[in-house]
């Protein structure tokens, strides 16, 4: 899917720039954006290292497990037929790391969850209810503190960089609730 989207964007822009006589600028932009990507990652990697470090402490000392266990009632609500404790803990870990803002460790847990659900689904070609609910709800979970966004606001001289935390929380909470309801309704129709 990403293959088509990526190729479509590239080829469509290339064609449009050729038609509007901007093909030279387009070539220049391709080279510039590659190095821009590297510069961006370098500036990001410090924050990423710090949070991964702290999260590793939370993980190794069992702090995350404690919070995961406290959240079990919620996962029971979302996945009433899910009995496998390992799958459930993967689901919770994915939600948790999403909430703690470590999107990449969340991706790791999410992929592990999907593999487990795939096995329960007997490697069939139609997604199970749990798969859809998990994917949609995990998408809706947002970090409690959007670190990168706040850092960006700070850099750009915001008077109150943290003022977006509450709107983020509310919009993400609303998204989670709507996503759960939508999944529960749609899974009966599809």
């Amino acid at each position: 899917m990403m293959n088509y989207i990526w190729a479509l964007i590239l080829l469509a822009s290339l064609t449009y720039s050729a038609l509007s006589g901007r093909i030279g600028v387009f070539g220049q932009a391709m080279m510039n954006s590659s190095s821009e990507a590297v510069t961006f990652i370098i500036s990001l990697s410090g924050v990423m290292a710090m949070w991964s470090g702290l999260m590793n402490i939370a993980e190794k000392t069992g702090f995350i497990n404690k919070i995961s266990r406290a959240l079990t009632p919620i996962t029971r609500l979302l996945f009433p037929h899910q009995k496998d404790p390992e799958t459930l803990s993967c689901i919770v870990m994915s939600f948790m790391s999403n909430i703690f803002g470590t999107g990449n460790s969340s991706t790791v847990f999410a992929l592990r969850t999907m593999e487990k659900l795939d096995a329960q689904n007997h490697y069939g070609d139609t997604a199970s209810n749990d798969m859809c609910t998990f994917a949609v709800v995990n998408m809706a979970f947002a970090p409690i503190i959007p670190i990168v966004t706040i850092q960006l606001r700070e850099e750009l001289g915001s008077a109150d960089p943290y003022s977006v935390v509450l709107p983020c929380l509310i919009s993400s909470a609303a998204t989670v609730i709507v996503s759960v309801i939508v999944c529960k309704i749609l899974e009966r129709r599809f």
Partner: protein, 175 residues
Amino acid sequence: MNSFFSAVSAGFMPVMAAVIVGYGLFKKAPVYDYFIEGAKEGLKTAVEILPFMVGIYIAVNGLTVSGLLDFIYMIFHPFFRMVHIPVELLPLIFLRAISGSGSFIILQDILEIAGPDSFSGRAACSMSGGCETVIYVLALYFGVTHVKKMRHALAGGLIGYCTGIAVSLVICNIL
């Protein structure tokens, strides 16, 4: 009220760090070693996502520079004006569903042009915080399974996405 929320928000990150480290010390764990170990993993992840970033930056910058994106926005302008949504948010609303890093550049642009404390600036931040890159996540998640039919996953994801956008606009208007 606002300063209270700001204080809570500003204090949250340091407090969370303190709780994590404090809990580790209480458990007599080698917290510094764990930190270094995790930080190393974080740096590795940063390097691992670099190729994706390069690919997405090229596609997104190509889309912008070619003028194709402006053309698409022009089509949607009248609708946005009709419902009183600032037009500068258009690129973010569209791109956020496709690419996280791509929409980050656009977020940066919006904050630079409209200012981080303006309505557009705050709504843009809230959207980036509350909405996930639907298409990328679905491709990634279902990529590790044998599933060919995603059923309601795409519809559910997009409905959730639109909810995030709408709530961000409303909340930033109120607060």
